[in-house]
């Protein structure tokens, strides 16, 4: 059994999250996954951008840095290339990752750099008080959509898949054991791995949309979820409004970025050798 406390900076408690927020539950799953994979605290980096979810690394006892909103993947890319022996994880929000950082997400997935990204999708900009995000379901109420949202969200896992991400999975805070398992698989995967975790923000999303208590929000996640296996036999109409959970992509046909980079370096050195 993982002792989660071993990975927490006790002097940084209490954390900033509201009661009933999904962030703490996911942080726990992430720690248990890290422990199960046998990563060491000294050799693990956790990089974040800005948001409630970006506060993961305040309390987690790894090599941590909180950078700029949306840019965690760029910082992580530079860091990982210079510290390829370290295990590098990124915790990010739906706004951070799929909104302001969307372009970085596409290209980091495309490069297939060996990072593990956990995107906490609470469907809202939590930290700034409940403005709608690119993941907010249509129609919803948000602090910047007081009558109704007027934009559709998109499937971020499909985006990562299309960009070339070699490990893509989805879970929810309700399915927390699955979440842990998928994060474990993602950490073990060589290449870009992405786990979207549907979470609840009772304060800034649930309340405005009359979704009840955090418990009710979790039950809603349960109700809406179908497994990848179940989804195979369902029509697009039947899948409308459903959360497909499980492993969506698991490819091993592409080398991780640092290996491809080293292949290029070998070519460069050989070419230089020819010239000499």
């Amino acid at each position: 059994m993982t002792n989660v406390k071993d990975y927490i900076r006790q002097d940084k408690l209490p954390h900033i999250w509201c009661p009933g927020c999904g962030d703490g539950t996911i942080a726990g799953a992430m720690i248990r996954a890290i422990d199960a994979c046998g990563l060491t605290k000294d050799n693990t980096a956790l990089i974040t951008g800005i948001g409630c979810s970006a506060r993961f690394n305040n309390i987690m006892d790894f090599h941590t840095f909180q950078t700029a909103h949306g840019r965690a993947l760029s910082y992580a890319t530079g860091f990982k290339m210079m510290k390829p022996e370290m295990d590098v994880l990124v915790a990010t929000g739906d706004g951070d990752c799929a909104g302001i950082g969307g372009n970085h997400l596409i290209h980091t997935a495309r490069r297939n750099i060996d990072l593990t990204v956990v995107m906490i999708n609470n469907q809202i900009y939590g930290m700034t008080g409940g403005q709608y995000s690119p993941m907010t379901p249509y129609p919803s109420i948000a602090s910047t959509a007081q009558y109704s949202t007027f934009e559709y969200p998109f499937d971020v896992c499909e985006l990562v898949k299309a960009a070339g991400g070699t490990y893509v999975a989805r879970s929810t805070t309700y399915h927390i054991n699955l979440t842990q398992k998928l994060i474990e698989n993602a950490i073990r995967h060589k290449g870009f791995s992405f786990v979207e975790v549907i979470s609840q923000c009772p304060t800034n999303f649930g309340k405005r949309n009359k979704m009840g208590s955090p418990y009710d929000m979790l039950m809603k996640q349960k109700e809406m979820s179908v497994t990848v296996e179940q989804a195979k036999d369902m029509s697009p109409e039947e899948l409308e409004g459903k959360i497909v959970i499980g492993e969506l992509v698991n490819r091993t046909d592409r080398k991780p970025f640092d290996e491809v980079y080293q292949d290029m370096v070998r070519k460069a050195l050989a070419k230089k050798g020819e010239k000499l």
Binding site: K12, K41, D42, N43, A45, I47, I50, N57, N58, D61, F62, H63, T64, F65, Q66, T67, A68, R71, L73, S74, Y75, A76, T77, G78, F79, K80, M81, M82, K83, E85, M86, N103, H104, I106, H107, Y261, M264, V265, A268, L269, K272
Partner: protein, 376 residues
């Protein structure tokens, strides 16, 4: 025995040489004229010396990757021009606040906006100072020759590491693209500065606890030194304290004091012309070249003209300008913009300061300066 190599090189190429000698082992960039030769040069050279070159999806990501690599301990370079320089501002602020060494080159072209992509300007000199938000310190160096591209690249890395601070090199389309003779010293004779490392044990280490020079100590990542850094106002341990007035005041004043402490190391300038000058021309970047030629011609006709070339632009070398201007009757500040750094010169002296400006994408020519000085 030290060996000097004589080469015929472009400014952008010399900058690459300087960066590599200084120890740059990471580059992240995005193509843009007139800076692409730096990006291309690094792409060809870094893989051969155990370094990493990345072409990122944009300049924001380039800055992020460079800062991330520097957080891992590497010396990092990124290069761009006007439109890309605007996108790099976010990262410049982050690097100032998180005290991450990184060198940013802006090969200035005509602006605003897409402006004149192949033509020179000096229109980013105020942006280099204040382009990103907040009260941040910044160091800006500006070369006028191919040799200075090499020398100031080394100096930029040394200052970045010494002061744990982003350093901007403001080059321009003329200096970046012109070719001239350069004597490259034996790299083993070049003075290289690396960031200072902590000697405290991990339990006692605080990433933002500064030494007497107000500069904090670095600790290797991937070791028992597990520490946090954030871009909010933070404690010495690196954790957010963004509602604490005392912590904010202490941190932000220290960030600026670091540069004050190293003012002598940062400040650099050159003087050319008549020692007993009547008119002083203050110049930087490519305009220095025209100013020198103009002064030579004017001095040959019996006028007494001196040229003060500012190589460090920010922090503005006010004391140096004040001292030199005091000996002149009048000061002339030619710039390829509508008058940006001239305000700083005016603040430094009570001598009359006149501008000579253009914004049409053409260089300032010696004849223009000669004509202007004759009127002064």
């Amino acid at each position: 025995m030290s060996n000097t190599t004589v080469r015929f090189m472009q400014g952008n190429e010399a900058l690459v040489e300087g960066a590599l000698v200084a120890g740059a082992r990471f580059f992240a960039g995005y193509p843009i004229t007139p800076a692409s030769e730096i990006t291309e040069g690094m792409s060809a050279r870094l893989p051969l010396v155990g370094g990493v070159f990345l072409q990122m999806e944009d300049e924001i990501a380039s800055m992020g990757a460079a800062i991330g690599a520097s957080m891992a301990g590497a010396k990092c370079l990124t290069a761009t021009s006007g439109p890309g320089f605007s996108l790099k501002q976010e990262g410049i602020g982050i690097a100032s606040m998180m005290e991450i060494p990184v060198v940013i080159v802006d090969v200035m072209r005509g602006g605003p906006a897409s402006g004149m992509s192949t033509l020179p300007s000096q229109m980013d000199v105020m942006q280099a100072r204040w382009g990103c938000h907040g009260d941040h310190p910044i160091i800006v160096l500006s070369p006028a020759t191919v040799t200075e591209c090499y020398e100031l690249a080394i100096k930029a890395f040394n200052l970045a590491e010494l002061i744990r601070q982003p350093v901007i090199i403001l080059s321009d389309a003329i200096v970046g693209h012109l070719r001239e003779r350069i004597e490259l010293p034996d790299p083993s004779t070049v003075k290289i500065i690396n960031r200072k490392m902590t000697d405290k044990p991990p339990e006692e280490y605080a990433p933002f606890e500064a030494g007497e020079d107000d500069v904090p100590f670095f600790a290797e990542r991937g070791t028992a030194y597990r520490y946090h850094m954030c871009s909010n106002v933070h404690t010495e341990k690196g954790f957010p304290a963004d509602t604490n007035n005392a912590v904010a005041a202490k941190l932000i004043t220290r960030l600026h004091r670091k540069l004050d402490n190293y003012a002598d190391e940062i400040t650099c300038y050159k003087f050319f012309g008549a020692e007993d000058y009547d008119v002083l021309i203050t110049a930087y970047g490519c305009v220095t070249r025209a100013a020198r030629d103009a002064a030579k011609a004017l001095n040959a006709e019996g006028r007494k003209v001196g040229v003060l070339q500012l190589q460090s632009l920010w922090p503005f070398p006010k004391a140096v300008v004040a001292e030199y201007a005091a000996k002149a009757r009048k000061v002339l500040m030619p710039e390829i913009n509508l008058g940006q750094l001239i305000d700083q010169v005016r603040l430094a002296t009570d001598r009359p300061v006149e501008g000579l400006n253009r914004c049409d994408g053409a260089e300032i020519r010696p004849e223009q300066i000669i004509e202007k000085v004759r009127e002064m």
